[in-house]
């Protein structure tokens, strides 16, 4: 006979049991999925090396492959994390398992957010490293030049997730795409609890509608409020550089406030969606 933890909101020992149970029940599927991801990346990179003679493994290509894979697989996986709740036969055992809703949510976040992100990135780099070496090997053995020039095509380096060298400006400056991923994935996680059927499609539509609303807000409300010729960069407003004007034609939020809002967007949104997911889990009826 074991002693039950007294804390009804969170107990580490109960959470550990949940994690162990989840792993025992899903490990085979997860490992096979990671192998499939590795295979898809290898096939895609091989295809790029075969068709692109100049820079098949350039940093921007590695970046886009990483981001597209991360978003699509991550969101798809997130929307299955609470798929048990969509059918009665899975939901009843899930809800009656002696653990709190917070522990169940944190278990899903552990696998769906932390472990998935780490393992996905590791798998990506395992394949990416091999393919970059292969691509560079080809460049060494068969030197090539850019068309009509004597400029030799140089070997490429492995894309660095942290420096984001070679990635588009918003990623390089703010890690926009990487950090936004967690918010989008959190929305899909919420969608899997909120929508009983077709949660992936319904969440995707909801996210698209939100983005559309944001664009409309920019176009219809923000732009008409700005002086003529000014552009809106979310947290700063300025006249474009090609417009002749004094250099002071720029309005910025105080650095602290802009930084705070950026952090809120990057880390506040996922936290907000996870909190709403927790509330939905608590009130879920089956």
């Amino acid at each position: 006979m074991t002693t039950a933890p007294t804390n009804q909101l969170f107990s580490f020992s109960r959470w550990r049991l949940l994690v162990a149970k989840h792993w025992a029940e899903h490990s085979r599927r997860y490992l096979l999925s990671l192998l499939a991801i590795a295979g898809l990346y290898a096939a895609w990179f091989a295809f790029m090396i075969a068709i692109d003679a100049y820079a098949p493994m350039a940093a921007n290509m590695q970046f886009s492959a990483y981001i597209v894979g991360l978003y699509s697989v991550g969101c798809l996986y997130a929307s299955t994390l609470f798929s048990e709740l969509s059918t009665k036969k899975d939901a009843l055992p899930w809800l009656s398992l002696p653990a709190s809703q917070l522990e169940k949510l944190l278990c899903s976040l552990f696998f769906g957010v932390i472990l998935f992100y780490i393992s996905f990135t590791l798998v990506f780099y395992c394949v990416d490293y091999i393919m970059v070496q292969w691509s560079n090997n080809i460049t060494y053995r068969h030197p090539r030049f850019f068309p009509g020039t004597q400029i030799r095509i140089l070997p490429v380096t492995l894309y660095n997730l942290f420096s984001a060298e070679g990635a588009p400006v918003p990623e390089k400056d703010y890690h926009l795409f990487t950090s936004l991923y967690f918010a989008i994935q959190a929305a899909f996680l919420l969608g899997s609890v909120y929508f009983t059927r077709y949660s992936v499609i319904k969440t995707a539509i909801a996210v698209l509608l939100f983005v559309l609303g944001f664009v409309v807000l920019q176009r219809v409300i923000i732009y008409p409020l700005l002086p003529k010729g000014w552009s809106n960069d979310f947290l700063s407003w300025s006249k474009p550089l090609y417009d002749t004007g004094p250099p002071g034609d720029e309005v910025r939020l105080p650095a602290g406030l802009a930084g705070g809002l950026t952090l809120l967007g990057q880390f506040g949104l996922p936290l907000f969606f996870w909190f709403v997911t927790y509330l939905r889990l608590k009130e879920k009826e089956v």
Binding site: T2, Q8, K21, K88, K89, A91, P93, L97, P98, V286
Partner: protein, 276 residues
């Protein structure tokens, strides 16, 4: 152990319970009967905390089920009618399920799986539906949870397994446990339950112990038309008229659950008046 007071529950605009009251005591096996769609499963799911009452109050083992506190979840086990077990070996599943239930007893689990003749080697999904159900029942009993809620547990069981089920459940009950079995297979629970609960039109239409039923009602076969006229319920059978009569002379008879069920649906007021 379980007290339900003035329970109201509805699916959108379709009311299921309209002021249901019920008390379940430890040491008993309750049979919950009712027509299709009367809310047998809904009642079980309200007690288990899967559904929240629209009005009224449920107290189960001193907890409010809707809060789904782990301490409460560890004290009951719900065997649903339809379920899906994970695609892993039985021993591995038990290894990860058992620690959630502080009173789980591995030897008991082995005993029940032997009783049910469940193959313990191989994956859970390789077992038939009936075998999977027996695995779930074995786990439910081995957790030693004080409250067991079973929704149509005999569905999918073969004839031999049904009798094994009755034997196993009868052996598992003790003074601290309460078992509530919902079924429309009334015959399957004969000689097992000691309390009959019948749901009808959103309320408890009948709730009595088998002892009281045997004391108050007389189940007999008769060819006497005068006796048939006094019956609360009668039906023709090959052996004569099967009658349900008030047991005015304290005669011994064996309650026929199926007949009682039909009689309550047809003549509930009169029957309940006899128990008042």
């Amino acid at each position: 152990m379980v007290t339900i007071h003035n329970l109201h529950y509805s699916y959108r605009r379709h009311p299921v319970f309209t002021g249901l009251d019920l008390q379940l005591q430890p040491g008993h096996i309750y049979g919950l009967f009712g027509r299709n769609g009367t809310g047998k499963s809904t009642l079980l799911r309200n007690i288990a905390g899967f559904l929240f009452p629209k009005q009224g109050r449920i107290d189960a083992l001193g907890f409010t089920p809707g809060k789904r506190q782990p301490a409460f979840l560890a004290k009951y086990f719900h065997v649903p009618e339809d379920f899906q077990l994970p695609d892993i070996p039985l021993s591995r599943w038990i290894q990860y399920m058992a620690p959630f239930y502080p009173d789980f007893n591995g030897q008991q689990f082995e005993h029940y799986t032997r009783e049910f003749a469940i193959p313990t080697l191989g994956g859970l999904r390789e077992l038939s539906y009936g075998q999977q159900k027996k695995v779930l029942i074995s786990l439910a009993l081995a957790t030693n949870a004080p409250l067991l809620l079973m929704d149509e547990p005999t569905n999918g069981l073969d004839i031999h397994s049904k009798s094994q089920f009755r034997k196993v459940i009868a052996g598992a009950i003790d003074e601290e446990k309460c078992i509530l079995i919902s079924t429309h297979q009334v015959k399957d629970l004969e000689n097992l339950i000691d309390n009959v609960t019948i749901l009808e039109e959103g309320k408890i239409a009948f709730h009595q112990s088998m002892g009281r039923i045997a004391e108050t009602l007389l189940f007999k076969l008769s060819f006497d038309p005068a006796e048939a006229e006094q019956a609360l319920y009668s039906e023709s059978s090959l052996k004569g008229q099967a009658l349900l009569l008030p047991n005015q002379n304290s005669e011994d008879s064996r309650p026929d659950l199926e007949m009682l069920y039909k009689a309550v649906l047809l003549n509930g007021k009169k029957i309940n008046a006899l128990f008042a």
